[in-house]
């Protein structure tokens, strides 16, 4: 699997510092997203993962540094499922159609729009759920619906905020395979996650963030006790399992063995 960033550049951040109330959440960040990017941004809560997404989305302007992006770049964003009002009175079809909002449009969908939405729903395997209320979907189906909405914009870059947060293991596998398929189809993907073993370790490229970029590289380069300690401020064990790195929290008895209180 490629995805470490060797294709043409889509967005480039150089020496970017950004924050709120002049307090920098991220300092001196240089980060380049390429056409074949497939990256997990990991870090503890408050480390600046979401802030980095906001910068990439263009809704946060940096205090310092420069951002350049490919002219006409199409970026889509998939929010955290937990931030959504699932009781809102819309169907899956209406939700996906929201991607067709810009410009002079009638309230109801045109025949072409109906076909486009149906096609993207079919592609994601939820074509039979178009008329369902969004509350009736399972976690995996909800994520597919938002991916469908994002894909309707035919993005070159897909940004996802914690796509596996609050979902079960089976849904997490679903989402991971779906993203891998989209990446194979040529969509650059950057996502934030807390899930080191279930998601980040499966991706070809990881960026560790904590107030800035602590490290970035392949899982083999980044998932090490030293990098994880610098990123999360906690000691973790890294094991090898079937060629993959597996992160394990250090148990209290291990602190004692190292003479740590």
């Amino acid at each position: 699997m490629t995805g470490t960033g060797v294709g043409p550049e889509l967005i480039s951040l150089t020496g970017v510092s950004v924050g709120y109330d002049h307090h920098h959440v991220l300092s001196d960040v240089s980060f380049h997203i390429h056409e074949d990017q497939f990256t997990a941004v990991v870090g503890p809560s408050g480390a600046g993962k979401t802030t980095l997404l906001r910068v990439l989305l263009g809704v946060l302007k940096p205090d310092h540094g420069t951002i350049t992006s490919q002219p006409g770049l199409r970026v889509s964003y998939v929010p955290q499922l937990e931030t959504v009002n699932w009781n809102f009175p819309i169907t899956v079809f209406e939700c996906v159609l929201m991607s067709r909002t810009i410009g002079r449009r009638l309230p109801w969908p045109s025949r072409a729009e109906r076909a486009e939405v149906s096609s993207v729903l079919e592609r994601l395997g939820i074509g039979n759920l178009a008329t369902r209320h969004i509350r009736e979907l399972s976690g995996g189906q909800q994520q597919r619906m938002f991916l469908a909405r994002a894909l309707l914009r035919q993005p070159q870059l897909l940004l996802l905020d914690e796509p596996t947060s609050g979902v079960d293991v089976s849904t997490r596998h679903d989402v991971l395979h779906l993203l891998a398929d989209l990446h194979e189809d040529g969509v650059a993907i950057v996502l934030t996650t807390h899930d080191l073993n279930g998601l980040a370790a499966h991706l070809p490229h990881i960026v560790c963030v904590n107030g800035g970029i602590v490290a970035d590289g392949s899982p083999a380069e980044v998932i090490t006790p030293e990098v994880l300690e610098r990123t999360f401020g906690a000691r973790m064990e890294v094991l090898e399992h079937l060629g993959m790195r597996v992160v394990v929290d250090e148990a209290p008895h291990m602190f004692a063995a190292r003479g740590v209180n």
């Binding site: 950004v18 924050g19 709120y20 109330d21 979401t50 997404l53 906001r54 989305l57 263009g58 809704v59 946060l60 302007k61 205090d63 970026v75 889509s76 964003y77 929010p79 931030t83 959504v84 009002n85 699932w86 009781n87 809102f88 009175p89 819309i90 169907t91 209406e94 939700c95 159609l97 929201m98 991607s99 067709r100 909002t101 810009i102 002079r104 449009r105 009638l106 309230p107 209320h133 509350r135 909405r149 914009r153 905020d161």
Partner: protein, 293 residues
């Protein structure tokens, strides 16, 4: 039958029936957006705020007091939005300060200088007696403007109501849509103020929309049902007001409340579940501007 037809022989009643039905439709229609955005309290606050402008404007330009009250209301709405967006003061606190201060000013001005327009009581609780032709034209104009705005910006309104974060990053001008909605809301409150009254307008913004939400899971149908419930409440409430001899606004709201109870009885838990998320404020932490906390 004769009892029902009898009030229709009075021109003022026919006029009132038309205005009350149209006011109910307008508030029911716009109320869907207000309720789904968790802005019910803004509707409540704005109506009180406009009362301040209503009283103040009469002092300076009695013949243009509606324009003055409208400008006051729009300014209040934009002030609430701006203060709330700064993030340091919550929207509820901003509404509490701005609108109640405005309402208090209105009461003080009414008490000190009186009014050349509707009486204090009519302004608070609504009356059909004081309705002028200009006000009817104004109500029709605001209704048409609201319908046109929703028709032309339906998708942007739906997107920004459901998911302002993603709407913003998808290129929808969320701030502009919200400002326009606030202006429309201010105008709707102002146009219906004389019929329903300052203190009861908020109820008619909320009740039809909540009833509609209990009956459907479709946004489009919710708009239609809420408008119909608003019309029905206005129409029946006006009749009830005539027979009971009480202010029109009170009976319109009571009819709406009765519909709510009936629908609740029929839909039970399902209706309550549907309307359960209506007070949810979908904050936009992702898109809070720089400088906000």
């Amino acid at each position: 039958m004769e009892t029902i037809l009898e009030p229709l022989t009075y021109a003022f009643f026919v006029k009132g029936l038309f205005v009350a039905s149209l006011a109910g439709a307008l508030l029911g229609f716009i109320g869907v957006f207000i309720v789904l955005r968790g802005m019910s309290y803004i509707g409540h606050g704005l109506s009180h705020s406009i009362f301040g402008g209503f009283a103040a404007a009469q002092l300076f330009a009695a013949q243009f007091y509606l324009i003055g009250a409208g400008l006051w209301g729009i300014a209040s709405a934009l002030a609430i939005t701006t203060v709330a967006k700064r993030g340091r003061v919550g929207a509820d606190a901003a509404i509490g300060v701005i609108t109640t201060a405005s309402f208090a000013l209105g009461v003080a001005l009414f008490a000190k200088f009186g009014t050349s327009g509707p009486s204090f009581e009519n302004a608070l609780f609504g009356s059909i007696l004081g309705i002028t032709t200009e006000q009817i034209i104004g109500l029709m104009a605001v209704s048409l403007l609201t319908a046109a705005f929703v028709f032309l910006r339906y998708r942007a309104l739906l997107f920004t109501t459901f998911d302002p974060d993603v709407a913003d990053v998808s290129g929808v001008r969320v701030g502009r849509i919200e400002a326009m909605l606030m202006i429309i809301l201010s105008l709707a409150i102002l146009a219906t103020l004389t019929v329903i009254g300052v203190t009861l307008v908020a109820a008619m913004l909320v009740i039809p929309a909540v009833v509609a939400r209990m009956l459907t899971d479709s946004f489009g149908r919710m708009l239609a049902i809420s408008t119909i419930v608003g019309v029905f409440s206005g129409f029946v409430g006006m009749y009830a007001s005539y027979y009971a001899g009480v202010p029109s606004g009170t009976m319109i709201v009571l009819v709406g409340a009765a519909i709510f109870v009936i629908v609740l009885a029929f839909t039970g838990g399902r209706g309550l579940r549907r309307s359960a998320g209506l007070d949810r404020h979908v904050d936009a932490p992702l898109l809070t501007p720089i400088g906000a906390k």
